[in-house]
Amino acid sequence: MKIIQWITAWGSWLVERLSGLGKFALFLCAAVVYSLTPPIKTDRIIKQLWFIGWKSLPVISLTAIFTGMVLALQGHPTLRRVGSEAFLGPLVALSLIRELGPVLSALMVTGRAGSSITAEIGIMRTNDQIDALHLMGLNPLRYLVTPNLLAMVIAMPLLAAVFDVIAIFGGYLLGVRVLGLNAGAYFGEMNNYVVVRDILNGVYKSMSFGIIIAWVCCFKGYYSRFGAEGVSAATTQAVVNASVLVLVWDYLLTSFIS
């Protein structure tokens, strides 16, 4: 009897998890379909672009400058040991453009804007505002999720580009101004080693990270449990899940691209 109870409990758990995953996948499908079909809520997209993109610039800039400086600080002694200090520029630029720029900017946006999106949608759920949208004949997915998805896809590559430029400048400040590397070598070698494909791969990564952040954060807010505790739990889960998914997806995408 105990075995049957155990199998039943395990089966229920599995069914619940699988149906949750199905709901998660269908949520993205619906959001993508609504993103590609009119009416598109342009004013909401612009508002979210301002919130996700423009308002994330300070934190992205601050993270970027220190990331670039740390890369130069760590890379310089190693390169000097093998007599290749001139390659500090390409080391910093390639690390940033291929990996660190898209990934770190995605993690920062998840923490700053993603958490806020989850909390906002979660509170709308708790305060019946999502039901009010239903009763006005409006589709809450089209009104709440689609603008975030489109704004993330547009904003993320731009933020990653800003991150790359500022971090390369941070590497320049430390490598050239502090450690005394030749400025021509820093930028010249960078020019020789960074190709358009590296930049495009960074753009594709950032766009896919934008989809992941919007997907996870909107989903968690939309299906948040009621009350302050429910919204708080949804926000934490959104940030953790989106961050982990970004890193896992980064590995898979990098493997595929390589």
Partner: protein, 248 residues
Amino acid sequence: MIRIENLWKSFDSQEVLRGVSLHVKPGEFIALVGMSGCGKSLLLRHLVRLIRPDQGRVLVDGHDVGTMPQKELEALRSRIGYVFQSGALFDSMSVFDNVAFPLREKTRMGETQIRQKVMEELDQVGLKDAEHKYPAQLSGGMLKRVALARTLVRAPEIILFDEPTTGLDPIVVNSILQLFDSVHRRLNLTGILVSHEIPEIFGIVQKIAMLHEGSIVAVETPETICASPNPVIDQFVNGKPEGPIKVR
């Protein structure tokens, strides 16, 4: 106009609605009363398919709300106004934008027409001067008035009030109920009011339906309800702590 037939709804193993049946005629304004947590708001949510029943039907003008296609449901919802307990106003919008929102999103009206219509509705609920305020700057009573204005701006035929006076002081409760009464009389709306405000609601509704232990135990005029020998109704209406209703 609204007919609820043998409606059942349970969550996990807890049966909340157990065979609820109720009929609301066109132009009738009825109050739905009962203990907190007995399923009044849940019943109201079934009328607009915010939730589906496990068993039974909700018919509006003979059409089954639970099974109607999405397009038909949207058309039905456009005829029904729903005033939530929380007001459900959008925090990021001003009072004016909240009331204008359904018109901007669902009609082809120009901004001048929208302004005129919104100001008319705000005037009706006595909030013409609050158009620039945000929900966080409003008192509880003002929130409910704005929520009513946002509902009325869509010119509904049926209006559902989900505990719209909970948490308000007695003076504001009476003023809000009087406002509902005048709106009902002026527009001849069919309405259901979920409320605990006894005896304040007696003067504005034609009938009172009492929900107890998952089913409707009485649908009577306020006078009959007051004189009811049914111990459940007597205990509830007179607020007696002792009786067949167990206080949780």
